[in-house]
């Protein structure tokens, strides 16, 4: 607990926003077409609400690295909770620097046996060093 993860920096790319939205099957034109986005009052192509996962996994630690770092058994883990808070709209072209930490570790007894609950918190700053988003996730590791 309290372990800080080494920060990482990654750019938001419009091609990746398109690929991500297409994988989900979200047809919202603001994610595909800059002109459509501007018409709706955006300064560029905004990121979808769950896009920061791309920044974390492509820019930060891979699934295997995360398991290793947190000493988690990859076949025993489940994603329990995920939260995003946005302070400012993030656009294609922004460069985000992410700092994260282990905020909480709990051991719990559930109906199907014991489990560890690991909570990670991240802060995202843009190229102007403005805090633009926060995220929080809980990983469940079954014993």
């Amino acid at each position: 607990m309290g372990l800080e993860l080494a920060p990482y920096t990654y750019s938001v790319e419009k091609g990746k926003i398109r690929e991500f939205s297409a994988a989900i099957g979200d047809p919202n034109p603001i994610y595909y077409d800059e002109e459509a986005a501007r018409k709706e009052g955006y300064e560029g192509i905004p990121i979808p609400l769950t896009y920061l996962q791309v920044i974390d996994l492509w820019g930060g630690y891979s699934f295997e690295q995360k398991c290793q770092m947190l000493n988690l058994n990859p076949v025993k883990i489940l994603h329990g909770e995920q939260g995003y808070q946005f302070l400012k709209t993030i656009y294609a072209g922004d460069k985000l620097t992410v700092s994260g930490k282990v905020a909480d570790v709990k051991v719990k007894q559930g109906s199907s046996g014991g489990m560890n609950l690991v909570t990670l918190e991240f802060e995202y700053r843009n190229q102007f060093n403005e805090l633009v988003a926060r995220s929080r996730n809980v990983t469940i590791e079954r014993h």
Partner: protein, 139 residues
Amino acid sequence: MWKYYEDLNVGDHFPKISKDPISRVQLVKYAGASGDFNPLHTVEEVGEKAGTGIIAHGMLVMGMAAQGVTSWIPRKYVNSLQIRFRKMTFPGERIHVTGKVLEKKENNQIVSEVVAMNDEGEVKVSGTFEAILPSKIVQ
């Protein structure tokens, strides 16, 4: 789409969006797009070893919930989304996303529920989102 604070009331339901069934190809696409290469989502043998078979990425289902949210409220007004993953989702399942307004706060903020479920109504993810909407009332 709702663009003004006054147009929403507590208890209002947002229109349901229904997705196509999740395919194996979609899981491969989502793995590449997101960077989540946990083999449980794409490799048959790993799914079998885990005792579940291949399961969909929880974040894909959350992404579908987010699609619902930003089909109801403009993306730029949404300032938080938090969910809990309730049940595993399997290829072949079809996700439906519903939502309703839970609370109207000061400063034009609304708090709403969002739920993603399958055809049988089994809840896969559920949670809340917040948005600050412009007011029609000129201050």
